[in-house]
């Protein structure tokens, strides 16, 4: 693809801290290379702001290679920007053209309060994972890798669910701010495997309870989450979660 440069207008959400009111601030950036990543374009903007004696824009990022789930920008009305199955850090400026206006907002959900500018607090996800508890595994000598046979289909489905990087785009995309796609990925990848079997029922019950406590909404199966997910976590995991939950509640003693 041919290299080109572009001038852009950026409208970026600025907010001093969790308590203050935020607003969209307009910035101009010029000579942006089509080969830059979206976050590199933000680095250029931030250097420009520092040179001008202004506060740089706070945004989350870590690996910049699409695996950690930290980057979290809602770009022109879509979490992680216009490309499918992609994280913000892997979005490249060739997705835009000269003269474009790009609106960048933080994830919006009461369960993900804004910390500063584009940074939101996603520790609710960590608490949901913690509520899932432990997985019983035998300690001692390392077990043979093939000691527990697992059907290929199941292993593949579990692996596909385990791809979730906990970025929160599903919550950001959902009209109900529901965390069901994330939760369903976490529940599915263990429910599908024999290693996850001993705590299978308590896990789903406790994780759903924690999700509700954190203030996420209820799922209405719109599918917006699946369309925004950088790891293409399938919506059918949500149906599996519903089944896990229904079974766990029907067979419980109390």
């Amino acid at each position: 693809m041919e290299h080109y440069t572009m001038n852009l207008t950026l409208k970026v959400w600025r907010q001093k801290n969790a308590k203050s009111e935020g607003h969209l601030e307009t910035y101009q950036v010029s000579d942006i290379s089509s080969e830059m990543s979206f976050l590199e374009m933000f680095d250029v903007l931030n250097e420009q702001l520092i040179r001008d004696g202004k506060e740089p824009i706070a945004f989350d990022h870590d690996c910049r290679e699409g695996i950690c789930g930290m980057c979290s920008m809602y770009i022109n009305g879509k979490p992680h920007g216009p490309w499918q199955a992609n994280t913000t850090c892997q979005l490249h400026m060739r997705a835009f053209k000269d003269g474009d206006t790009i609106v960048v907002e933080p994830w919006r959900a009461n369960a993900f309060p804004v910390v500063k500018d584009l940074v939101v607090d996603r520790t609710a996800f960590d608490r949901i994972i913690q509520a899932g508890g432990y997985v019983s595994v035998n300690t001692g000598n390392a077990v043979d890798g093939n000691a527990i046979p697992i059907e290929k289909d199941k292993a593949d489905a579990a692996f596909a669910a385990a791809m979730c990087i906990g970025c929160g785009a599903c919550v950001a995309a959902c009209k109900n701010s529901s965390a069901m796609l994330f939760l369903s990925a976490k529940v599915s990848h263990l429910a599908l495997l024999p290693q996850g079997a001993p705590e299978r029922k308590s896990r789903v019950v406790n994780m759903v309870a924690q999700m509700d406590k954190e203030g996420f909404g209820a799922c209405t199966n719109t599918g917006a989450c699946e369309a925004a997910c950088p790891k293409e976590i399938s919506l059918s995991n949500i149906a599996r979660l519903n089944q896990e939950y229904l079974t766990a509640s029907l067979v419980s003693e109390k």
């Binding site: 809602y74 919006r108 009461n110 209820a218 939950y245 229904l246």
Partner: protein
């Protein structure tokens, strides 16, 4: 997990929507089937027989109580879910995701439901209410519902025109509500196999289109004299 814990969780509340939704779908099949007797072209004889079976028989009359209970549960739970879900994002986006990620009607179940509810109020006051108030708690004293339909739809007046419009719009709202709701209800019940999901998606679309066109055709058939 106690029943209370289950039915007050977000997943449990959705299960209630799904159970009651599927129950209402079953009702629609019966309702559409019996009403289709108007097209027998026999001056309403067959239709009134069907109506008499439903209104002059204790079994359907008792089941009717269950139908109302299910309907009310569906409406109350649906509206409560919709309103709590809306409160989960206090600061709105400047640019919306819109139709890029989901279908408009899947995001509008609450509004579509309210439209159906408005239609239902008119619909019940057109037929059910006059019939049951004439009957009281007895099995007799039914009114001629075929004649009542004729009177409601076949006349030419502004009231008739508005009534027919509300009926057609109500059917459209129901069609879109079910285009999402039918398959969603089964996902909520836990059907996660791709092959069943695809099948239910297809059945759901066909069901919502066929049933809603059939219902919309009823007032239109009377009005334009397509039945004798």
């Amino acid at each position: 997990m106690t029943w209370k814990q289950m039915f007050t969780s977000s997943v449990g509340k959705k299960l209630v929507m799904s159970f009651t939704g599927i129950f209402l779908i079953l009702f629609l099949i019966v309702h559409a089937g019996l009403n289709a007797c108007i097209w027998a072209n026999d001056g309403g004889e067959m239709f009134n027989k069907a109506a008499h079976f439903m209104g002059g028989n204790w079994v359907p009359r008792i089941l009717e109580v269950g139908l109302f209970a299910g309907l009310i549960l569906h409406i109350v739970q649906g509206l409560m879910l919709e309103s709590t879900n809306r409160k989960k994002r206090s600061t709105k986006y400047a640019v919306n995701y819109g139709n890029k990620g989901s279908k408009w009607y899947s995001r509008s179940m609450g509004i579509l439901g309210i439209l159906i509810l408005l239609f239902l109020i008119l619909h019940l006051s057109n037929f059910w209410l006059p019939n049951r108030s004439s009957q009281g708690l007895s099995l007799s004293g039914e009114i001629d519902l075929y004649a009542k339909m004729k009177e409601t739809f076949a006349t030419h007046s502004p009231v008739t025109a508005i009534t027919i419009l509300v009926y057609v719009l109500g059917c459209a709202a129901l069609g879109y509500h079910l285009a999402h709701g039918f398959q969603s209800a089964f996902k909520t019940l836990g059907v996660h196999n791709k092959k069943y999901q695809q099948m239910l998606m297809a059945i759901g679309y066909v069901f919502s289109i066929v049933v809603c066109i059939a219902f919309a055709m009823m007032p239109l058939s009377f009005h334009f004299g397509w039945i004798s």
